[in-house]
């Protein structure tokens, strides 16, 4: 009989669900191979429909009491729990909420909507801190990406459906960083000494040249490969959605270190000047991974 599969989303944009459908015709063999027993986004499922499954693909981060409960519930019912996509693996874009507090966020929202905060029905509690799935429940595998690419998903599925499965806690993507498969690899000079960093907004990026070499902080060197350099192909720098390379403990710190290292200036003021167009290190280096970083969130009184 076919392995039972569940899909669920926590704090995420829904893109991870989308990308399952983006498999298009490749979806059909998947549907042959597995039996989907829980997929609230696609069909009407309720909490009580949850049943024991072989594999649960859980996307999105955890930022509410409800998401926490669902994660625990699904963990309990799944033989294999897969953290699916950047939010599930690292906290993702919602993780940037860790730069503020639940109260700030709610107040801003209520201000914007003119609501008095009394919603008349019990809403789940919004946590101060957004967390990746594995800070709430034990996770068996990770599928990186914002969102994961069809290729990565395909590989992940086949890997998981094999008889001898990959080692637990592993990330189902290549071991090296993106430069390894970057279409512009050859144009990366051996020695970089940038006078300063530049912004995408006010730079015309040469389509055939290493983007980092053009002074744009491209996180390709720090980011796990597997996406086939899609952003690069779109002439945009890598922003790190595939997360850290295997041996890295804090994605942003490593990316920051690498970027700072290839600057040329040596004087105090020259360095400050070189960093002028890099005003938001947190947003630049931790765009997808703040909740999974050492500091996890902004310190608040």
């Amino acid at each position: 009989m076919k392995p039972k599969v569940a899909f669920y989303w926590c704090a995420s944009c829904g893109g991870c669900e989308e990308c399952i459908l983006d498999l298009a015709e490749d979806l059909l063999p998947v549907l042959d191979a597995v039996e989907i027993v829980f997929w609230p986004v696609a069909l009407d499922f309720k909490e009580h429909d949850i049943q024991p499954v072989d594999i649960c693909f859980l996307n999105g981060a955890v930022r509410t009491s409800e998401q926490k409960r669902m994660a625990e519930l699904l963990r309990a019912n799944a033989k294999v729990l897969v953290a699916f996509g950047a939010c599930a693996q690292l906290g993702g874009i919602p993780g940037l909420a860790n730069l503020s507090t639940a109260r700030d966020i709610l107040e801003t929202a209520e201000e914007a909507t003119g609501s008095d905060g009394d919603h008349g029905l019990p809403l789940p509690e919004l946590f101060d801190t957004v967390l990746p799935i594995d800070r709430v429940v034990d996770v068996d595998y990770y599928v990186p990406g914002c969102p994961p690419t069809p290729k990565i998903i395909g590989q992940a599925l086949t890997a998981l459906l094999k008889t001898e499965v990959p080692s637990r806690h592993s990330v189902l993507a290549p071991e090296q960083a993106l430069c390894e498969e970057c279409p512009r690899r050859a144009t990366r000079p051996e020695t970089l000494a940038l006078d300063r960093f530049r912004r995408v907004a006010d730079t015309i990026i040469d389509e055939n040249m290493c983007i980092l070499a053009q002074g744009i902080p491209c996180l390709g060197p720090a980011t796990r490969a597997g996406c086939e350099g899609r952003c690069i192909a779109g002439n945009m720098p890598c922003t790190g959605c595939f997360g850290p390379a295997p041996r890295v403990r804090d994605f942003g710190a490593k990316a920051l270190s690498a970027m700072a290292s290839i600057l040329a200036p040596t004087g105090d003021d020259e360095i400050t000047d070189a960093l002028r167009d890099l005003p938001d290190p947190a947003g630049t280096f931790y765009r997808y991974s703040l909740p999974a970083s050492f500091l996890t969130r902004k310190a608040t009184p």
Partner: protein, 145 residues
């Protein structure tokens, strides 16, 4: 009554200048505050920002980086790399609600024993004024859940 706050400082000292400066402070019997814990690295350029963030995450109240004076690096220019990383890191720490005074990069030569004492004493004073670091995340999550 509660014990007076004693800040914990993790110090990364380069092997050739600052660590020797600290050794000299020892042989010269200079007394200074006991709050700093020194980790020896070969060069300030070896200090991976991960170490600094890890130290803060694990509850350090301050992190002190010590290297050779510009132009004096035993490895020619490691200290410049340290300076660049430091400046960017300090900016990031600010965004994370960690006061800039909590991280300090100092050039201290093998001869500047007294500088070791002054810097550590100063930093301890500053940190006492700032008070303990704000509660680390786990407790916040515990409260939240």
């Amino acid at each position: 009554m509660p014990e007076p706050f004693e800040p914990k400082i993790v110090a990364f000292f380069c092997n050739w200048c600052t660590y020797l400066g600290a050794d000299l402070a020892g042989t010269s019997r200079l007394k200074y505050a006991p709050n700093a814990r020194v980790v020896r690295v070969m060069c300030s350029g070896r200090v991976d920002p991960q170490f600094v963030l890890d130290a803060f995450a694990k509850g350090a109240d301050g992190v002190l980086l010590g290297g050779c004076h510009p132009g004096d690096c035993h490895y020619q220019e490691g200290n410049y790399k340290a300076l660049r990383r430091f400046k960017l890191l300090q900016q990031f720490l600010g965004q994370m609600g960690i006061e800039p005074e909590r991280i300090r990069l100092e050039w201290i030569s093998a001869a500047e024993a007294d500088r070791v004492r002054t810097v550590i004493n100063e930093m301890v004073e500053t940190l006492k004024r700032l008070g303990p670091r704000k509660a680390p995340v786990e407790t916040q999550f515990a409260e939240a859940s």
